[in-house]
Amino acid sequence: MGYRLETGGRLIDRATEISFRFNGQTLTGHAGDTLASALLANGRTLVGRSFKYHRPRGILASGAEEPNALMGVGTGNRFEPNQRATTTELFPGLESQSQNHWPSLETDIGSLNAALAGVAPVFSAGFYYKTFLAPRVAWKHVFEPVIRQAAGLGKAPSEPDPDTYEHFHAHTDVLIIGGGVAGITATRQAAEAGADVLLIEQTAHFGGRALVEEETLIDGLPAPEWTAREIAALEAMPNVTLRSRVMGAGLYDHGYALLYERVSDHKPGQPGVPRHRLWRVRTKQIVVATGAIERPLTVANNDLPGVMLASAVRDYVRLWGVCPGNKVVISANNDDAYRTALALHGAGAEVRAVVDVRRAVTGPLADQVRALQIPVLEGHGIAKIKGGKQVEAVEVARLTEAGGIGGAGNKLSCDCVALSGGWSPVVHLYSHCGGKLRWDDEALMFRPAPERGGPIGADGGVSTRCGGASNGHLGTAACLADAARAGGVAAAAAGFVAPAMDLPSVEEAEEAPIEAHWFTPSRDALAHGTKHFVDFQNDVTAADVRLAAREGYESVEHTKRYTTLGMATDQGKTSNIAGLALLAEALGKQIPEVGTTTFRPPYTPISMGAIAGSAKGPLFKAIRQTPMHGWHAENGADFEPVGDWFRPFCYLRPGEDRHAAVTREVLNTRNRVGILDASTLGKIAVTGPDAPKFLDRIYTNTMSTLKVGRCRYGLMCTENGFLFDDGVVVRTGPESYLCHTTSGGADRVAAHLEEWLQTEWWDLNVYTANVTDQWAQIAVAGPEARAILTAAGTDIDLSAEALPFMSYLEGQIAGVPVRLFRISFSGEMAFEIATPAGHGMALWQALLDAGEPLGVMPYGTEALHIMRAEKGFIMIGDETDGTVTPQDLGLHWAVSKKKDDFLGKRAQERIDLTRPDRKQLVGLLTDNPQVVLPDGAHAVAETREAGKPMVTIGHVTSTYMSPTLGHSIAMALIEGGAQRMGESLKFPMEDGTILRATVVDPVFYDKEGARNV
């Protein structure tokens, strides 16, 4: 059981007490504690239940690699699951809860799984997939409810997150990831060469493991003091930027890096302070100095609370002044673990023994341990760890040459077991961007293999390299030398000349070689490895890995998915290598033959908030506003998105629903006069001596013959002959046009025009400009349209003679400059008035005022759509879907037969686009005129019983209840529709009923155009 030491703890401020809560109990820690160190200091060893078996779990590690101690942190709208206690800095009032327990952490019914697993493995490798083989009824009633209840990590938060998040773009010459001695040394070297350097450290403190290794002397100073001196020196350099609490989350091609800054997790809820900040860094060079992670040993019951990584035990003693146990047994296959024995002894704890799998242990570290009268058991392993919710003892046994256990075991009572299976370089980030690895059979690690080709930058050279322990150099002297090299090479590659580096002198204990040891044998029921945990977070045991091998899984990538080894939030940081080694062993292969899984960003989970950044709530997506947007909002507008715009669907008056409002707007426009904010219409100016020729190629009809001052409806097709945008083209001068596009299509059309001008028709002298936002545009439609303009006051002659249909004039209305177009999309006598956007609101208000006696009302997009449908006018996106030609829509009249060429002409001559049974636009009248066909309803050739497949012959594209006509109307694309006039079509509904409708001409209202004069 852990306790706070009287002295020590480099990172804590003993003068400052902090109160926090764990599972409802109030506990106390110190400023500088992590949640993990504070829990240990309070004697809390059991901190959670495991994922599948609900086994009791404690804190394994001291940093980002922690697999077990996942907490729900915070309450209410600031609750967040799966927070690692080891990386959660303690703050006053912190609320934490253990996870996966039911009903309580201490008494967990789910742990029956674990009890059963001893008899017959319940959730063994591939369990989930095997359930699919069972009868379907078993899945529904047995497996799924059981799995759902038992498995899963944490609870999802139930309230919206109140915090803010943001992105930040940064540029530098060299990015160095990891603020330990390697990162510090690489930074110094690159910065002295003159490069701009950004050095980041994921924790709150620079120094990494050096803060713990007090015995190691650098430049004659204990490593922590040397670190402080170097950081001070770097802070003084103007070209160095240091950021703590910033993690390298992902590295990508060409020196692009994503960094994750936890700005205020340690001090939450400050107004204005973002919680997390996602750094998007572009740099010439990257040095990965991310150190190494210790691996546990695969020992029976190695997941009991009280079992920890040897280095973590040392960290808690020295960084936070917390001793994880009174009586500790250490088991190892390497020398580094002996440092933990020394640290524990120095802190006053009893080290029962160092159990070393190596047969002969020599070297200064072991000698120092022996000198303290601590037993070193050579050639021994832990056959089993004993205990219930907490380590109580270990059984130590001699290991035989054959890999078994020899002789009777020796029981050692203890409350903490420190395991060390060697160190794995943190190569994750290097791998993210394509760095290759190789297996080092002596150091027992995957290490970077730049000789196999490094990650490539924009210049074609290597952009990313590892330095220090992450590059496989675990000793301090070797680490510093390698990091200095990496920093210097990076600076040189970034265009700077690195000075020769005077490497600091290092005094450190020499270490004897590590010995491969991937599984510590056990006896009886434990012999098969069902309690030898490899992956603590996913409850994957040695037996699971071996079962996968027996069942034919040879690739590590497949085994990972089958067993879930290395998945979930820790991504196997402590388990991957042991899992690989066990798989290789089971397959009789070498580790390199089995390979390693792919590392993908992020290094540890990052918040969804950080990814979203500021794009949340009102800033989620930009909303385009017309100059009259504010008026709409204040006058009942019920908005709908159209492209990036928000347009009024209709204007709701008190007591009205949408249907009533739309009906009123349509009838008022047809009977009196309505005005529509049409500012969203795309407007593209096209100018130049070749503009007529250019537009003849762009549009299906002829624009070169259009007279100045006149308008023509035009269609644009893709090269494949399909209609993709339409609108009125206005000839504003001999060499200039104004092309209207759909509201959502302006940007697409502008890009389309530039694409052709720049890449194909660069010989044409044409300029285009997207002037959509320059103009506010107002449609005025209805019998009183002329009267309203007259009332508003204009110097333009509105007579049909001066301003005939499809023409335009410039002048003033209500005192503002306008372009007045005599065009109609409703079939009514109508105008569209364009005025510079800055006058838009003034003109809108003037028309409302002038029109009040005439009964003017604004109308929205739905009324617009209904009125155009009543007239049989098509709508891009309703009647077209990228597979429809103008001919399909009966728009032959707008496709020139005289022009040599236009975009889509050749395609429209293809057999498939000319066959007579293509889907063609028709009108539909339902047998029951009060029934509105559902949008998208399918017409079928023959009806069959519901549920049986039927051959469809087309679908409804627009469908409305027509207020003008008093019955429903629809348009549809029907196979050979042009030949089906008068035919009755069948539309089967989901509920089994069949609606019938008759094929008619799509122009439902005022076919002769009598109203538009």
Partner: protein, 197 residues
Amino acid sequence: MSDPVSALMGERVEPRSGLVCSDVSQRGQITLKADLEIEAVRAAINEVVGVVCPDPRGAVFSEDNRGAVWMAGDELLLFVPRGEVASVTADLTERLADLHAMVLDVSDARAILRLTGSDAAETLAKGTPVDLRDAAFPIGLARRTHLAGLAVGIWRRDADVWEVVCFRSYAHHLFAWVAQVGQSGAEVQHAPLSAKA
């Protein structure tokens, strides 16, 4: 005739002390598209607008706020007092009549926001991938890029003075974005963007 209004009606926000974002859209704006290598074009700009034709990625302004910002190899955005737009547009059109050129009054098409303060660059860096460090973005440089998810032009008028242009319909979004990410408490204090040009 009523005076034209900008989308933001001259709004101003100071989300944190010393960081000011203001609507300065009320300038006459003219899009000029032409071959900028032609001497007659450059001369016309100089004589009619009153500034030299900017180099690629350049933004040139006179003391009385006339200006020309490079937008593309064949495009400039010109600034003149609003009252002079008609005459300048007519002058340029006439002088370039024999050349292939487009001269358009776009005074209402865009919003211009001005960010001032020592934290202005850092605030922009929250939304644009452009390198804003002094060496990469000196005074007088212009970039077309994106900011807060919008297509924008950004130019630097002075060490602590930046101008951002976007289409008018997006003005409210950009303004609201600056007001949020610039708020007090959200300082990044990233030294490479705090140095003065």
